[in-house]
């Protein structure tokens, strides 16, 4: 713990200020849109710093900040020794897409669906209690659904919430669509997500729902979600048929990758 963080009363006043959209974010967003709309194509060089400074009437540091952000998102090349180029099109994923299978499908032109197997209030087992940082046997709300893409089985979804968040789920028709959207609409604070991605064989339950033999390779995405103050409010396990989903990421030299491979 750094002693410096407790020093200046001035700094606390500053952090309470309502965060505004800063100019570098506006520039980054504008460049992202140019790329998304195909006005800047893969391989094209980005406008020069001088051009961006003139176009946005901004300081060089601000323009560099915007460019650094796009680089860390894997949208442009390192620019070492020459101008940054637009990389082959990897659409960045929005925070909402990370949580909402429904929205992710709709973005890809796919009709999402769900068949709820059960919604239950139950005591947390040791692993779930640890993941949610609640006492052993504390009540949780759990949802088990088969998810569909264009009417075909695609993913088995297991969601778990501590009781205060889970109350919102108990009041929701889980066959009607996005639980995540319902939570956001209910004012639940979801600030960060940690995802762990690996491969796993279908267990008996997965196999029956997905209509595949036991042991079929599935792409598993486990997710923990946290509030702004770092309290866990969701622990989930999504298992995709391997033909239905993959992940992609661009990385550039001198930009550490947010994605890490973990052994074991």
């Amino acid at each position: 713990m750094c002693h410096l963080v407790q020093r200046s009363p001035l700094s606390f006043k500053e952090v309470r200020e309502v965060p505004e959209v800063q100019q570098y974010e506006q520039i980054a967003s504008h460049l992202r849109n140019l790329i998304r709309e195909g006005i800047l194509e893969p391989g094209d060089p980005l406008p020069s710093e001088a051009e961006l400074c003139a176009a946005f009437d901004s300081a060089r540091g601000t323009v560099r900040q915007a460019v650094a952000l796009l680089r860390s998102e894997g949208i442009i090349s390192s620019g070492q020794g020459r101008r940054s180029r637009v990389l082959d099109n990897v659409p960045s994923q929005s925070f909402d897409d990370i949580f909402s299978f429904s929205q992710w499908c709709l973005n890809s032109g796919i009709q999402p669906g769900q068949e709820t197997q059960w919604v239950t209030k139950r005591p947390a087992d040791a692993a779930l209690a640890a993941a949610l940082e609640i006492p052993d046997r504390a009540p949780v709300v759990s949802v088990f659904r088969l998810r569909l893409m264009d009417g075909q089985p695609a993913m088995v979804e297991r969601l778990n919430y501590p009781l205060d968040t889970g109350q919102h789920v108990l009041n929701f028709d889980t066959d009607s669509g996005s639980i995540y959207q319902h939570l956001i609409d209910s004012g639940v604070d979801i600030d960060t997500a940690t995802r762990t991605i690996d491969a796993i064989g279908a267990d008996a339950e997965d196999a029956a729902l997905l209509g595949v033999p036991e042991g079929t390779p599935l792409l598993r995405v486990r997710r923990r979600a946290f509030t702004t103050d770092g309290t866990p409010i969701e622990s989930s396990d999504d298992r995709y048929l391997h033909s239905k989903a993959s992940f992609t990421i661009n990385s550039t030299r001198n930009s550490p990758s947010a994605l890490s491979m973990i052994s074991g």
Copy 2:
């Protein structure tokens, strides 16, 4: 004791004299180190902007640039409404780790190994020619190796290079360690990487080398590498036993994630 307070203005003067490293990168790197060394722990707030400005003798825009970079790397929370917190420890992966299985193992305290099955010069088939953006049947150098973790089979590696890059591989003892390190040492320009991650069942070749039944779930990582001007110089396919590797990533609200899930 916070390292921040020990930095003298003199050291920043020295930093400014190195033209290719910008100050925001220095600040980001310093904060990353504080987190890596546990001086800033998960849940701890980051020092305020004012404190960072004072400690680094820098402008507010520069400090914000550093903080935005850490946020996009998934190291700190969104900071919406309050100070950014350090997230649960997900070590960012260096660019070198993306390419070098050997270095990745060593970073995790694991002894890497390799058993080369073959190295060959051959004409590219249509798929490989497309991936490397070379004419059909143009010569490529391909390497097929079993990779070991602490002496145990862990991954099947298939590497493919266009001939000019591949020449460096033909001259290398592929049983001696990292091909990537050899390419870098040979002056090959590797600037960006695109990785696609999914699950797949072991084919007959995978199964024989890994000592598992055919169809066993594997975590597959396909990678394309590009030079600074966007020319493809590698196309590879790594398949990990599912017990040996997973991926993890943190994401924060209002920061697009560099990792995208793709349908199909």
